[in-house]
Amino acid sequence: MLFSEAAGRPVVAMDEARTVGSVADLVVDPHEQRIVALRLRHKVHGADTLLWSDLTAFGADAVTIASAARIAPPPASLDRLTGAGGHLLRKQLLTADGDSLGTVDNAEFDIQTGELTSLMVGNATVDGERLRGCGKFAVVVAA
C-alpha cells in the first residue's frame, strides 16, 4: 500500500465496533526499514500513537485494533522517529555516497508485515531495503 493511500484510513476498535480515529502518519524506523507505529489525526483520551505490534490488521479499508485502549502516547523509544526527522515524504533522497536522486514523492509498504518495500522518486523507485536514515534534511539510502 502507498503511504498516500494509508493517510486518512479509519481506525476501528473491534470491541466497540466503531471508528475511533483516522491515520495521520506512518512512523518508519529507517534502520529496520519498517513501519513501527501509526499516528492518529486526533487524540483519543489524550493519546495519538498506535504501535504496529498492537494492530490487529492493516486492512484494505480500515485499520483494526482490539480496543481504543491500545492507543497510547508515543513511547520514548520512538522519540528519534517522531520529531522533525521522522517523515519520509517530500524530503531529498541522498545516497550514502552523497548523490541526490530527487525528492521522495511516495513510499510503499507491505500491509501484512509493515516492511517498507519501496521509495518513489519521480518515475523511479528505490528498494525499501536500501533505507539507512531519515533525518531532518534528507532520506539516506545505501549507494
Binding site: A96, G98, F137, A143
Partner: protein, 193 residues
C-alpha cells in the same frame, strides 16, 4: 567507486550524516602544509544567518563526497578547529606557481583535484592550473597530476618533470593520468581506478 572532484566544488556543500541530518556546510579545505594532503574541512553553520563554526571535519571522518553532499557517519565526527589546523601552515596552495624538478614554471594553481576513495579517504591527486607559457601560450586551464607526496613552500610547488607529459584537459581523462604518473614514479599505492 573512486571519484574525482574539484576542491572548489566541495565548498558550500552540506555535510549530512548517514541518519539524514545536515550538520554544517563546507567552508574551506584545510591542506597539510608539509605534504599537501587534505587534513579536513572548515565549516559554516547551516542557514542564511549562520557563520563559521569552531569545529572542523577531519578528512578521516568523511565517508563520501558526492555530487550533492559530503557524508559523515554522525554528528560527533567533528573536532576542534584548533586541533585540525595545528599543522596546516602553508596549506593554501591556490595561486602558487608549479615548478618542475627541471626548473620549468608550468603555471599557477587555480584549483585542487581531490580523489575520494570508497570509505571516504580524501587525497590530493592533482592541480587545476592556469597554464604558463611553457605549456600553452593562451593561459588555458589544464589538469596536472601529482605524485602521492609533493614539496610545497607556500610559494611554489615542486612536481616531477614526467607530470608535464600527463597534463589533461578535463576530469574524465584525468584518472588515468594520475595512475600513470604514480606508477612511473613508483608511487602507485593508491592508483585511481
Amino acid at each position: 567507486m573512486t571519484r574525482l572532484v574539484r576542491a572548489t566544488d566541495v565548498i558550500g556543500m552540506p555535510v549530512v550524516t548517514l541518519d539524514g541530518d545536515d550538520i554544517a556546510d563546507i567552508k574551506d579545505v584545510v591542506f597539510d602544509g608539509d605534504t599537501g594532503r587534505v587534513r579536513g574541512f572548515t565549516l559554516n553553520g547551516r542557514g542564511l544567518l549562520a557563520g563559521p563554526l569552531d569545529q572542523g571535519l577531519p578528512a578521516g571522518a568523511v565517508s563520501s563526497v558526492g555530487r550533492d553532499a559530503v557524508m559523515t557517519a554522525g554528528p560527533t565526527t567533528t573536532v576542534s578547529l584548533r586541533d585540525m589546523a595545528a599543522r596546516a601552515g602553508n596549506g593554501d596552495v591556490l595561486g602558487n606557481h608549479v615548478l618542475t624538478e627541471g626548473g620549468t614554471d608550468l603555471g599557477a594553481v587555480a584549483d585542487v583535484i581531490l580523489q575520494v576513495a570508497p570509505g571516504g579517504v580524501v587525497d590530493v591527486v592533482g592541480y587545476d592550473i592556469v597554464a604558463g607559457p611553457a605549456l600553452y601560450g593562451d593561459g588555458r586551464r589544464v589538469l596536472l597530476p601529482l605524485p602521492h607526496t609533493i614539496a610545497a613552500s607556500g610559494e611554489v610547488v615542486i612536481v616531477p618533470t614526467e607530470s608535464v607529459e600527463l597534463v589533461r584537459p578535463n576530469l574524465a581523462e584525468f584518472g588515468d593520468a594520475v595512475a600513470t604518473l604514480r606508477h612511473e614514479t613508483g608511487d602507485g599505492t593508491d592508483a585511481v581506478q
